[in-house]
């Protein structure tokens, strides 16, 4: 479970995230939506321990990311909005590097690398250096590295950007499979129709403040998620 409790993050005088609180339960696919600059990436980076935050706390399975960063991070995998990797590495070396950091046993990583590289059609390309990849291939390499260590919580920032339609479909399948196992998927997105179909819960952030949070059914009612989002934006 992820518990976000009254989190505030400031950049100088500017408040990027303003007293945000919500909870993500085990088995949730949680969509985090908001316009550009609303504070999505800042909050995501705070959850995964990249950013410190000024007030509040974030608990991962009951443990504070501030107090126990290493233990919390062991439960999570993070996929950034830009596929940031060590470009001079071969993809397989990069994936192995990430697995080493999570101390993933050989049998688990072997099985997962095989499984996900097959799904993303990357089996023949893992021995290439990442700098020879396209944006989409880099994104796939990052996704394989995130999934290879079998995380309990998958946190993604705009994961569908730059991916081909088949890869988008495959990710949706993988995410559904994960939540069936009681895992958590938390991701930010601008693609509202995908979020509407895929996610069980949603939070909407506007100018750093949480304006809506709850189950997808509660939030959208009879309307489309896009319509709800646009109405909130116009307020």
């Amino acid at each position: 479970m992820i518990e976000i409790k009254n989190v505030t993050k400031k950049y100088g005088k500017k408040i990027a995230v303003d007293n945000v609180s919500f909870t993500v339960e085990d088995g949730d696919i949680f969509a985090f939506i908001g316009h550009n600059g609303a504070g999505k990436t800042t909050l995501i980076k705070s959850i995964v321990g990249i950013h410190d935050f000024d007030e509040g706390d974030i608990l991962i399975d009951g443990k504070s990311i501030k107090e126990n960063p290493v233990e919390c991070k062991k439960l999570m995998a993070y996929v950034p909005d830009n596929p940031e990797t060590y470009e001079h590495m071969k993809a397989i070396d990069y994936i192995n590097f990430i697995c080493d950091m999570y101390e993933t046993p050989l049998d688990v990583r072997e099985a997962n690398i095989k499984k996900y590289s097959k799904i993303f059609e990357m089996e023949d390309k893992l021995n290439d250096t990442i700098d020879s990849y396209s944006h989409g291939m880099k994104q796939k390499a990052v996704l394989i590295s995130a999934l290879a260590h079998d995380p309990k919580i998958l946190i993604m920032d705009e994961p569908f950007v730059g991916l081909d339609p088949k890869a988008v479909f495959d990710i949706k399948e993988i995410l559904n499979e994960m939540v069936k196992e009681g895992k958590i998927v938390f991701y930010s997105t601008h693609i509202l129709d995908v979020a509407e179909k895929l996610c069980s819960r949603v939070a909407i952030i506007k100018s750093g403040k949480l304006v809506k949070s709850g189950s997808m059914k509660e939030i959208k009612g009879d309307k489309s998620l896009e319509k709800v989002f646009m109405e909130l934006e116009e307020k």
Binding site: V70, K74, M101, Y102, E103, P105, D128, T129, D131, S132
Partner: protein, 539 residues
């Protein structure tokens, strides 16, 4: 012109601010240390040059030294250029943006070289401005004219060495880009070039001797062999507007020709550099399990060996060490002669120095190890990838120490091998042997710890290319100047102990203890302040 100015402004503000550091919490304290170091260095250079001017002024030849300094600055700019131009001109992060704009390729080249020029201008000013000021009391002619000439020289001097090194950088890249292993070819080429320049400069002490004996003819010699440097002394001593115009003309023509020449081949070479020639290997995918620490060290080594400018920059100190070891083994007399000539006031002869051979060996090690600062860019080189490290379930201390271990893996074997060769050659006493071996580990460690602490203080996570981080960031300048300061102090102490005739074993033991204590203090700072600073870095 408006378009060009707009481009220069955009490019300069994004990446050429010398004191730009990536911490969002940057304050005034960030720039205090570089300023203090620059003032210290300028004061030191000004003081030394004043003494030299005074000595040469007895025969009315002080002006010659201006040409000598101009020549040295030119030479240093050329060396810097060989290191950097290839990385600065090709495969920059803003390539796609600039090449997609409706501007000429020559404009792109102009911007790339102009950025390098501005940096060198700042760098040269630290060395040349104090010299120019120190000469004022010895200036015989009009002060206003002298200042105008000096400022023109300051502005023009970097142009030709930058142009020449840019052309060399383009040729090196053009050749290396045809090979599968571009990086290795580029590194080998650069080392060969630098070795040639180093060999040529070995006769430096002879040149200084000639200068002191034949100062007035020396300026004619510089004018003859390198007019743009020699003309400085000539103009100050005997102003002639034609000489000044020729000097300005030569610089401008060389600059424009270089830009035109490079822009003709730039696009083709850059495309080749960007297109990877590495083909998929058909080997089975190897999945190995390593501990987090060894995996992090492997990643660091991978970064090191895949960043040519990083290897060239830090590797040169190690190669210099090995070169000095070879000279000591095969031509010990030559080495000691250079040492005694450069320290004429020490009163030590070559024979007396041989009695303190262990201290001479320590002197070589301190000279090269404090000049070899690998870690001053290891944080900045992470760039936005710092977010990957920060999201991993690994303590900041483990990440930082793995960077130190990787640097130790690179430097320690070189120092140990060179040291053992020297110890065997000079049949050093076993206790001194053991103490020197310990020093070979703990002394470079100081350099590594200082480097990483300085880089944590002055990170640059948004650089356009690795050369900018390795060669022209605040962190690299501060770390190099700090290393130089420690090196000068250590060398001074060693020479003092030799003159006094202190017991070599006690001196070595003293240095070992002090180095270990400094390592411990720096380690504690890294463990406490460094880890906090790492966690607060934002890309």
């Amino acid at each position: 012109m408006k378009k060009l100015m707009s481009l220069i402004k955009a490019c300069m503000t994004s990446d050429m601010n010398l004191f730009k550091v990536s911490s969002k919490k940057k304050g005034k304290s960030s720039i205090i240390l570089p300023i203090i170091l620059a003032i210290y260095l300028m004061g030191y250079i000004g003081g030394i040059s004043f003494i030299l001017f005074k000595e040469l002024d007895v025969d009315g030849n002080a002006y010659v030294l201006l040409s000598v300094f101009a020549f040295i600055i030119t030479f240093l700019t050329f060396i810097e250029g060989i290191y950097k131009t290839s990385s600065l001109i090709f495969n920059a992060k803003d390539d796609d943006l600039l090449l997609s704009l409706p501007i000429k390729r020559s404009t792109v080249i102009f911007i790339r070289i102009f950025k390098f020029y501005i940096f060198e201008l700042l760098y040269n000013s630290v060395f040349l401005l104090p010299v120019i000021i120190a000469y004022i009391p010895f200036n015989k002619g009009s002060l206003v004219l002298y200042i105008v000439i000096s400022l023109i020289m300051l502005l023009m001097l970097p142009i030709i060495p930058i142009a020449l090194s840019s052309i060399i950088g383009v040729i090196t890249t053009a050749i290396s880009s045809r090979f599968k292993y571009k990086n290795i070819v580029e590194i080998v080429f650069t080392f060969i070039l630098l070795a040639c320049v180093f060999m040529a400069s070995m006769s430096g002490s002879k040149v200084m001797e000639y200068l002191l004996n034949n100062a007035s003819r020396f300026n004619d010699l510089i004018v003859k062999y390198y007019y743009p440097a020699g003309v400085f002394g000539k103009l100050v001593n005997n102003f002639n507007i034609i000489d000044l115009l020729i000097f300005i003309g030569i610089n401008l023509v060389v600059y424009l020709l270089t830009i035109l020449l490079i822009s003709k081949v730039y696009f083709k070479i850059n495309t080749r550099v960007k297109s990877s020639t590495k083909k998929s290997s058909n080997k089975n995918t190897i999945i190995k399990v390593r501990s987090p620490r060894s995996s992090l060290i492997k990643k660091e080594l991978n970064t090191f060996f895949n960043t040519p400018v990083f290897i060239i920059n830090s590797g040169f100190g190690l190669i210099l060490f090995l070169l000095l070891v070879v000279v000591m083994i095969f031509k010990p007399d030559l080495f000691l002669l250079v040492l005694t000539k450069n320290n004429p006031n020490s009163g030590l002869t070559s024979d007396e120095m041989m009695k303190h051979i262990s201290l001479i060996i320590l002197l070589i090690m301190s000279f090269t190890s404090f000049m070899t600062s690998i870690t001053n860019s290891v944080i900045s080189l992470e760039g936005r990838n710092i977010n990957i490290l920060k999201s991993l379930p690994i303590k900041a201390k483990t990440i930082l120490m793995s960077k130190i271990y990787a640097c130790m893996i690179i430097t320690t074997p070189v120092f140990i091998v060179g040291l053992i060769a020297l110890l065997i050659k000079f049949k050093v006493d076993i206790i001194e042997f053991i103490l020197l071996l310990i020093i070979a580990i703990v002394m470079p460690l100081i350099s590594h710890l200082i480097g990483i602490l300085v880089n944590l203080k002055y990170p640059k996570l948004d650089a356009e290319n690795s050369a900018e981080v390795v060669k022209q960031s605040t962190s690299s300048l501060v770390a190099v100047f700090t290393g130089m300061g420690i090196m000068f102090f250590t060398v001074f102490l060693l020479i003092m102990f030799m003159i006094i005739g202190f017991n070599t074993k006690i001196v070595l033991l003293g240095f070992t203890v002090v180095f270990i204590l400094v390592d411990l203090i720096l380690y504690l700072i890294l463990n406490k302040w460094g880890t906090k600073k790492f966690s607060s870095l934002e890309a």
